[in-house]
């Protein structure tokens, strides 16, 4: 059948690191431009133009950093879980590279979400840290990211390291619904979700629009950062192939 043939060819291409390296340049640049614009507008709007919260005052402006970083760190984790599944089922080399290239950004965004949460918690809850279901499950995710990083460093054989990381990433995805529903399942101090796909936000537009811009902006940043790191990972792992050696040869001097 023509359709399954095309699909198979496309799947095969998708697994080719060289093909990805060569087509992804414009995406990397485009997403970088979008990320800069969205984050600049969203941040200036959120910091200076949006009205202060009637209860929390200006400390509420931390939401424009806290929510986007928390959301993107979980999406990054889900992407690693999916990449791990693809690696284990189809043995796709590129999937392992995606998993490895996602770790630094995801880890730093989780840390940032926890840090901004602590800084927000102090004036709002009166404490830097509370052992609440949401904060604890986010801390577990940070340890999972650190574990994924350490595991890869600890196993010298590339293929074995890839498989071990895939299993850890996949098992760790159990934590994602726990983070998401922790505010509903347990009685927590943490406020419930600001955005829901099925409902209109409870905030006024001049408060949630900058948040929306920053969420979109951080996703674009994730995209461009992932492509950039993935390209370096591809070069490192394919360094013995003809096409990478040619690229190195033509790279000046």
């Amino acid at each position: 059948m023509a359709l399954t043939d095309t699909l198979r060819r496309w799947w095969h291409k998708l697994g080719s690191p060289r093909w990805f390296y060569e087509i992804s340049g414009p995406w990397q640049t485009g997403l970088a431009v979008l990320a800069t614009l969205l984050l600049l507008v969203g941040t200036i709007w959120g910091l200076a133009i949006a009205p202060a919260d009637y209860q929390q005052g200006n400390s509420f402006r931390i939401i424009y950093v806290h929510v986007p970083t928390a959301i993107v760190s979980q999406t990054a984790y889900l992407l690693m879980g999916a990449a791990g599944l693809v690696l284990l089922v189809w043995r796709m080399k590129l999937a392992d590279m995606v998993l490895a290239a996602t770790v630094p950004f995801g880890m730093s965004m989780t840390a940032l979400a926890l840090f901004t949460g602590a800084v927000w918690g102090k004036p709002t809850w009166g404490a830097w840290w509370v052992w609440d279901a949401r904060t604890t499950s986010m801390l577990v995710m940070l340890f999972l990211y650190i574990g994924l990083y350490a595991l890869r460093q600890a196993i010298p054989r590339e293929e074995a390291a890839g498989r071990a990381c895939a299993v850890l990433a996949l098992v760790g995805t159990v934590n994602i619904p726990i983070i998401k529903y922790s505010v509903d399942w347990w009685l927590t101090l943490h406020q419930p979700a600001t955005f829901k796909l099925t409902e209109a936000p409870s905030m006024p537009a001049e408060m949630y629009l900058p948040l929306l811009l920053n969420v979109l902006g951080i996703y674009c940043l994730f995209g461009t950062n992932l492509i950039g790191r993935l390209k370096v990972t591809i070069l490192e792992r394919e360094s013995r192939t003809q096409w990478v050696r040619q690229l190195v040869g033509s790279s000046g001097r």
């Binding site: 400390s59 940032l112 370096v232």
Partner: protein, 60 residues
């Protein structure tokens, strides 16, 4: 505009420390991510070129 003067803006109604800590940390982490990729990319090309050079020297 939510603030009348620059000093109001920096003070954030008494919450300046918290707000600027959060935004400062975000800026640092974003810059680390952006420059981290560039540094890794340059390091790869530098090392790969050095390897090629050494291989060529061994041949001759």
């Amino acid at each position: 505009m939510s603030f009348d003067t620059w000093s109001d803006f920096f003070a954030m109604g008494g919450h300046g420390l918290y707000v600027w800590l959060a935004y400062g940390a975000a800026l640092i982490v974003i810059l680390l991510n952006v420059f981290g990729v560039r540094v890794a990319r340059r390091r790869f090309f530098r090392q790969a070129r050095a390897l090629e050079r050494r291989a060529r020297e061994l041949e001759t």
